[in-house]
Symmetry: C2
Subunit: 301 residues, 2 copies
Amino acid sequence: MMYNMDRLYESVSDKGHVCVGLDTSPGYIPPLSRSLAASDAEAVLAFNYAIIDTTADKAACFKVQIAYYEALGRAGFDVYAKTLALIHEKKSLVIADIKRGDIADTALQYAKAHFEGDFEADFVTLSPYMGMDSIEPWLAYAKDKGKGAFVLMRTSNKGMRDFQYLELRDTTRLYHAVGDKLSILADQYRGNYGYGAFGAVVGANPKTGTEREEVTALREQYGNLFFLIPGYGAQGGAAEDAALLLREGNGGVVNASRSILNAWTVKAANNGQEANNEFAAEAAGEAVVVMRDAIWKAAGI
Amino acid sequence: MMYNMDRLYESVSDKGHVCVGLDTSPGYIPPLSRSLAASDAEAVLAFNYAIIDTTADKAACFKVQIAYYEALGRAGFDVYAKTLALIHEKKSLVIADIKRGDIADTALQYAKAHFEGDFEADFVTLSPYMGMDSIEPWLAYAKDKGKGAFVLMRTSNKGMRDFQYLELRDTTRLYHAVGDKLSILADQYRGNYGYGAFGAVVGANPKTGTEREEVTALREQYGNLFFLIPGYGAQGGAAEDAALLLREGNGGVVNASRSILNAWTVKAANNGQEANNEFAAEAAGEAVVVMRDAIWKAAGI
């Protein structure tokens, strides 16, 4: 069985660790191009097309944050479906960042929604709060179609400390309990490169030495989990932080959204030029290359 | 400020505790009516209309499980929007069971998606795993528009034991940590009847005496949290279990989905009759009344 996680591993080997986050707020689009579109939904689609076109050959994968499309109502789901379709057409991999988490019959419905039909993605993100019976129904799609998932484990936001970081009676933390369960699953659905079909979301924003030690330990402890690493760029994480979460030069993709989508604003200010989508896409492509090379360097590749 | 949670309290006083769960799988629809529809999406919409029509005056509120609509792709969101619109038209309250949970800008996009525009609901359900910065962005809508939310706390599924039930170092459980944070929020956004604008999802399926004591303690400890109580009927919970989670005859709504939507199957078998949507709606109305009265009795009302 060739899992999508194996394909992602190979994509990282070929093209580096960058995951381009299409969290496309209409406000990120160059005003010139936005004003030419018939609606914000159309503007988002045209912008996405331009970005995908210039970054697909430089990035390991894309991550589409569904909240930005939901916020546009019914028209947003049309844009969402078309964005996924274009990524498939480019033979790139796409993570649907949906963070769904519900049980039994409901989980099956969500799995059908995001692993089949209009919104079919290669990977999804999932939230584990309800327990493993909210994760397991998705696994049928790993078995049948090679689909993958990244389950929230230790995120990079401030609120991470509220629950994920709580110490359990046995002195591990909640996120370890999640990681332990995922690691067992990963062993049962293990791909060609040693990683399970389902991986974990682990943040890259270690502010202190203690946190650096913590994430380093975490990478060693969960060697069979492929990581989706958020928190890069606009969220404060750097290439060195992300590199701590890689393993033998692979084992993770590093997501950046705003720092790639908004790269045009800096370039336009420097050049004194009015930006459009093509200009923004060119700047995005350059930002991906800079980020890719910085991670390669930090990881000693 | 009149919060939606106040309106829900009043609706419970007037009409009882039943929350009708519109987890409408096409498979729940009488085949006669399903076959007459142009598509599964159209079939779901017609069925929902019939159910809403006969239950709106007998139930406290509706809960729409978005997964069943997402599973129908783009057409599903059209049905979802129209279902919400009909519930609003009937002056009933609707909980969007979306269990979203994401941070900062993303949470704001989700809030915009579900508290404005095509998919505007009165309440949402949220997942707390990422921390309180995934809950707080939604509160602007409590302040401005009276919107409400139910945050996952202690659910009724088996997987509840995987994480929610874990003992923390201070000997409370994870779900207490969530409840404690929610209770502080509820005090800051407290409505006319003592309940906060945001409440909690707490399951009603206590199988043992210990669990009964536990949920009873929980109801006392979190007196300012209005509960959304799942697990009734098809999921095994009974009126007596649900009553443990009520407070002075109010303070909670009890959701049932399959036992209401599928009530027609029993009635049709008994009568030897072929069911259609109208027949199913009549059976659903009767099931709501039976459930409502059983909870009233169990709660001593």
